[in-house]
Amino acid sequence: MRTEIRLAAFGGQGIILSGVIMGEGAINDGKNAVQTQSYGPESRGGAAKSEIIIADENIDYPMVVEADCLVALSQPGYDKYASEVKPGATVIIDSDLVETEKHPTAGSFYQLPFTKLADELGNRIVANIVMLGSVCAITGIVDKESLLEAVKANVPAKFLDLNVRAFTRGYEIGEQALA
């Protein structure tokens, strides 16, 4: 079984780290994972993309062909990749950053305020971790504990508590959205 996840945003929103954490979470689950990325020359702004392939078998081709799950945190990211998903895919957008009514072919479509929730937690920079929590709750692609362990291993010790709260908050609203 091979699952393809694509995260699309502007550079600086932290999705490359989100992808790294997701891949590491999958490895904590005992699966194979490959993470690839694409970004522009700018350190902030510009298009950024992070792709994660999770599989039980060896991963020959490391990139997304048609996403099982698309997460968009920017309008251009959504516009560019909205059509490149499998029929019935899970599509998740930041409701304050992407404007769209619905997705034409998605099996499930979620609009969640990741960036606003991060602001409420005190720092916009953890929007990527809020998003991870929600993706975890909604898709179940990676085990919650495995993913949280990977979050803890990849954020600065100084901000550990903030990131754990961000993940937990994201997981909560993901669960609520599913209900």
Partner: protein
């Protein structure tokens, strides 16, 4: 030696661990396993992560890392350090690799063992600075002026970035030559599981030292022993044509002829010992279609071969691990019974044209540029069109 003890202790702790890391980072660990003593470099996307990890980790293993003022200084530093007996390397990408060409020639002519990593990005010039490509294949072969041969290896996974660094350092010492690890931005920035080898599985080739009585810059054998600085003998190192004792002689035709033919032959005559490929023959043994690829392009290529076989087509697959010297024996053998050979590359057909020189079947370049790797579908379509 204290340095060696530090390294062994460092690697003993690392052995058997499994990390989720970039190809670049795996390359850096590979250098430490390979006994790299000295790294000099200048940051550039997509190779910077090699220098970053080397800067953090190499000193713990007893080595030295210096950030130089530019790429010219970086390669000059590793050549100089190699002459003190150190195992040395630098890492860069296309623009930096261009700047290093003059001194790569100097390393060839002075027979200096060193390793140059080029994580290829889309060019020429600044091109698509953050996007991957395989456009430096011929630059690796012919980037510096004058007749020469070169060794270049191309990894296709993060694990292989580590594993091939060991080969690079060993080949550099065995043949007294610069060796190029020809990565690409896709493989440099791929993040996947990498298993750190056990220290007991690692072997380092011995750099042959000149005997005190010998001409210190090489006798008649293909690969002469080296005399390091500080070991008591007078050493003269020059990029100009020189005699076996190292002294300049740029006027005698025979001196240049003998020197350059030997430097060329030490790689060309050992091609079969150097070249490594990976073959995946179709099980029914009757394939008329084949695919040859390397580096990043080999992954969608291999995926497409698998899909084509599932669709009932017989297709053979060959991956080039050694790019230079060219695997002509293996490629000729692979193509002998084929009608069509497809060569997917992230350039405008650099290896495809090299293959055409040696084989009789039709060679189709499946080239892709623009900074995005081939998809499995694109290569599958090319295979099905060839059926």
């Amino acid at each position: 030696m204290a340095i060696e003890a530090n390294r062994k202790e460092y690697l003993r702790r690392l052995g058997g661990k499994k990390y989720f890391i970039l190809g670049d980072e795996a390359c850096a660990y590979g250098a430490i396993y390979a006994g790299c003593d000295f790294f000099a470099g200048y940051p550039i996307t997509p190779a910077t992560e090699i220098a970053e990890l080397i800067a953090l980790e190499l000193p713990k293993a007893g080595g030295i890392c210096i950030q130089m003022e530019d790429e010219l200084a970086s390669i000059a530093a590793i050549i100089g350090a190699a002459w003190t007996g150190a195992r040395t390397m630098t890492a860069t990408s296309g623009p930096g690799f261009s700047l290093m060409q003059e001194n790569i020639g100097y390393a060839i002519m002075t027979e200096t063992p060193c390793v140059i990593v080029n994580v290829q990005r889309s060019g020429p010039s600044t091109g698509q600075a953050t996007k991957p490509a395989q456009g430096d294949v011929m630059q690796a072969r012919w980037g510096t002026h004058g007749d020469h041969d070169i060794i270049a290896l191309a990894p296709h996974s993060a694990q292989e970035c580590l594993d091939l660094m060991l080969d690079c350092f060993n080949l550099a010492d065995i043949y007294r030559t610069p060796v190029i690890l020809l990565m690409d931005g896709e493989i440099g920035h791929i993040r996947e599981s990498v298993t750190m080898p056990e220290l007991s599985t690692i072997t380092h080739a011995e750099r042959k030292l000149a005997q005190p009585a010998e001409d210190i810059f090489g006798g008649p054998e293909l690969v002469p022993g080296i005399t390091h600085y500080g070991e008591g003998a007078n050493v003269h190192v020059t990029g100009s044509t020189h005699l076996a004792n190292g002294m300049r002689d740029v006027a005698t035709p025979e001196v240049h002829d003998v020197l350059l033919r030997r430097i060329y032959r030490k790689i060309a005559d050992n091609r079969e010992q150097i070249v490594r490929t990976e073959l995946d023959k179709d099980t029914d043994g009757k394939a008329k279609i084949g695919v040859i690829a390397y580096g990043a392009a080999s992954r969608p290529a291999h995926g497409a071969v698998g899909r084509a076989r599932n669709n009932g087509n017989a297709v053979d697959f060959l991956r080039l691990i050694t790019i230079w010297p060219f695997a002509r024996t293996q490629v000729v053998e692979f193509c002998r019974d084929l009608d069509v050979l497809l060569v997917p590359e992230m350039n405008l057909g650099q290896i495809s044209r090299e293959i055409e020189r040696f084989v009789n079947c039709r060679v189709v370049s499946v080239s892709k540029i623009g900074g995005v790797p081939h998809t499995v579908e694109e290569i599958l379509t090319a295979i099905e069109e060839a059926v």
